[in-house]
């Protein structure tokens, strides 16, 4: 670790992983509730479990992005972080706000939560993924601004590289687009139109810049390929992300009451959204193939390569499957959507955060470059367990979705929703099985931080 202030990344990463565990526990609960509807009812109803599952996902990824930034920016800028103290204060504020919010979801009826948090003054609650009380949202904005300030000031006083500038652009975009969560129109069409300015322009927009920058950073560090080559690729990739993703927002505007031309614009542009992900895959494999040296941290390289492949499959391919308007007409809001959503989030964002943690955590814990061979082997096992089980989750949900679309929408005699849910229950059971394997993979992942931590570091001779 070259700069002492990089150490502030460590608490962020730890909380990141802790919240990831929470997310998956609730995921497994939800999976069971799909087939045993009153499981844990009324203590944890489905809708509450879902809020906890999705909100924890976003928050742990945000902790991960922040930790990643605090780690890589000092190194990229070749200067200490502007204010490690501010970073730590914000850590505790974000953690407290996050925990309070989750507890609020679990312990109190949602309507009561709205009352006691003063939602009436500025109503922002009640929308999917944006269920947080208004005061939590304000807290998120404060934390994000302080974070941007800290990172921005560091970049300003240090070396400006393409990696840290792209990262800063992505993070700034993340903060700016989150502001749309405060905009809550009465008109339902407008409500839905602007909602996507947070969700789509995050995950199919500015978050791709963050993904690209983090991937580029890990590849620079682990392959030794010339920075200029990697940075040039990064520029092309993010240009493609923005070109396809911005107007690609239109693929959410097909059926919500917006003008018909969105069906054309949304289809044409979003059809090309897989391109930047395809480029990332080629980019990652090319860089690793052309590497000048081996790196002792094999696990990090595995996460990086795996991320590029799974992101392409989950976000790119599965996204493409249901992005064209004529197809989406039938598949909208079905298990096809869930299939895509799970693999896309896992492949793109979960895996890049795990990749950066894999790269940075050994050094944050005192290693020179990598964990011991034993730890890395466990970590790589966890990679395969989680990734393969996620593929199966996606395949099972795709099966469920195809059957659902056929029975409920496409056939000459469409069946009602609940009747179809009964018929696709087998897929849900299989998905739950895969989900349990995922949880096992996650536990193996956790163990990799402890088992082998006393062993000597893996070197290129011993690896």
């Amino acid at each position: 670790m070259q700069y002492s202030s990089q150490a502030v990344a460590k608490p962020y990463f730890i909380v990141s992983i802790a919240l990831f565990v929470g997310q998956i526990l609730f995921g497994v609960i939800l999976g069971l509730q799909y087939v045993i509807g009153d499981f844990l009812f009324p203590e944890i109803p489905f809708n509450v479990a879902r809020m906890v599952h999705t909100n924890l996902l976003i928050v742990w990824l945000l902790f991960g992005f922040m930790g990643a930034s605090y780690y890589l920016v000092p190194e990229e800028t070749e200067t200490e972080l502007y204010s490690p103290k501010l970073a730590l204060v914000m850590f505790w504020i974000f953690l407290a706000a996050g925990v309070a919010t989750i507890l609020g979801y679990l312990l109190v009826p949602y309507a009561t939560l709205a009352d006691i948090t003063g939602n009436g003054l500025l109503p922002t609650m009640g929308r999917e993924f944006l269920e947080q009380p208004t005061i939590t949202k304000i807290g998120i904005v404060v934390v994000a601004l302080a974070f941007l300030f800290n990172i921005g000031m560091t970049i300003l006083k240090g070396r400006k590289t393409v990696v840290n500038l792209v990262l800063l652009m992505g993070l700034t975009g993340l903060a700016v687009f989150f502001l749309f969560s405060f905009f809550n129109p009465e008109n339902l069409v407008h409500d839905k139109f602007w909602w996507w300015w947070v969700v789509h322009l995050w995950v199919e927009g500015v978050w791709e810049l963050i993904l690209g920058a983090l991937l580029a950073y890990v590849l620079i560090k682990t392959t030794g390929v010339d920075r200029e080559i990697i940075e040039k690729w990064l520029y092309v990739i993010i240009a493609m992300s923005l070109i396809t993703g911005i107007i690609g927002t239109g693929h959410h505007y097909f059926w919500i009451g917006t003008p018909e031309y969105w069906q054309w614009w949304g289809s044409i542009f979003s059809a090309m959204e897989p391109i930047p992900f395809f480029m990332m895959t080629i980019f990652a494999f090319n860089m690793v193939n052309q590497r000048r040296r081996q790196h002792a941290n094999k696990a990090a390289v595995l996460w990086a390569l795996g991320c590029s492949v799974m992101a392409f499959l989950g976000a790119g391919v599965w996204g493409f499957l249901h992005t064209l308007a004529p197809v989406n007409y039938y598949t909208h809001g079905t298990q096809i959507t869930a299939a895509h959503g799970h693999m896309a989030f896992y492949g793109a964002y979960v895996m890049i955060v795990l990749a950066i943690i894999s790269y940075a955590m050994p050094m944050l814990r005192g290693r020179k470059a990598a964990n011991s061979r034993k730890s890395q082997v466990l970590e790589m096992w966890s990679f395969w367990l989680m990734t393969v089980s996620m593929v199966f989750i996606t395949l099972f949900l795709t099966g469920a979705g195809v059957l659902q679309v056929y029975l409920q929408r496409f056939s000459d005699d469409p069946l009602p929703f609940m009747v179809v849910q009964e018929k696709i229950a087998l897929f849900y059971w299989m998905r739950e099985g895969a989900g349990l394997v995922f949880l096992i993979g996650l536990l193996v992942y956790l163990s990799s931080f402890f088992i082998g931590s006393k062993d000597p570091e893996a070197t290129l001779e011993s690896a």
């Binding site: 200029e228 080559i229 070109i243 059809a271 090309m272």
Partner: protein
């Protein structure tokens, strides 16, 4: 090996134009235009960008053609309401500006920065006229109350031409950057990757219009 881009002019497009960076893993391109080369003129990154843009327009063109197949009467009827004289003028303007850009490149290959700038300015003048003519056309349509929602033909016509229009504007920004950098002495007979990159982009803008014009204005 490479220069870092630091001028304000190339703040927004540093890696694509302006920087003449050697790509280590690929063989350096020949700068003498009479030599056979393995890669097209200019930075490979800009060509990837060009291909991506061509892909978008290609899909748009194909979508137009198939949408027309479902609405032949509608498309034939409303196609006649378009201003073909303006379209002809615009086509000639873009072809001429492309030619001027070619002359600019030939000038810099002969190490003549002065002439290069003049040709670039001439190309930009043509581009500016295109923008004016097209803007007048758009104003006319808007004034007549035509919008994206009027009918499928107008939706495609307005989308295609407006999307292309935005690319002309971006192309103008690129040409301006090239002119400024030429004036600063950034290019020479032996080192002109950057200007070739920008020129390639401008030709792409022209190329797209060359298909758009007959497809939307003429073919019926």
């Amino acid at each position: 090996m490479g220069r870092r881009c630091i001028t304000a002019a190339d703040l927004f497009l540093p890696a694509i134009i302006g920087c003449s960076l050697q790509i280590n893993v690929l063989p350096p391109n020949m700068t003498d235009s009479t030599q056979i080369r393995r890669y097209p003129p200019g930075d490979l990154a800009i060509w990837i960008f060009i291909i991506a843009e061509l892909l978008v327009f290609g899909i748009f063109f194909a979508s137009y053609a198939f949408a027309r197949a479902n609405n032949v009467e509608l498309f034939n009827t409303y196609q006649l309401t378009l201003d073909r004289q303006s379209a002809l003028l615009n086509t000639l303007l873009l072809i001429t500006s492309s030619y001027f850009v070619v002359r600019a490149i030939l000038s810099i290959q002969a190490d003549n920065s002065q002439h290069c700038i003049r040709w670039l300015l001439a190309a930009m003048a043509m581009g500016l006229m295109f923008i004016v003519v097209k803007s007048v056309e758009f104003a006319h349509h808007l004034g007549a109350g035509i919008s994206l929602s009027t009918n499928t033909f107008y939706m495609f016509y307005l989308s295609l031409t407006f999307f292309h229009f935005l690319h002309v504007i971006l192309g103008m920004v690129i040409l301006t950057t090239l002119a400024i950098k030429t004036r600063q002495g950034a290019y020479s007979a032996t080192q002109h990757d950057g200007i070739e990159s920008g020129a390639s982009y401008w030709h792409m803008v022209d190329l797209v219009w060359l298909i758009l014009f007959p497809l939307v204005y003429v073919m019926r």
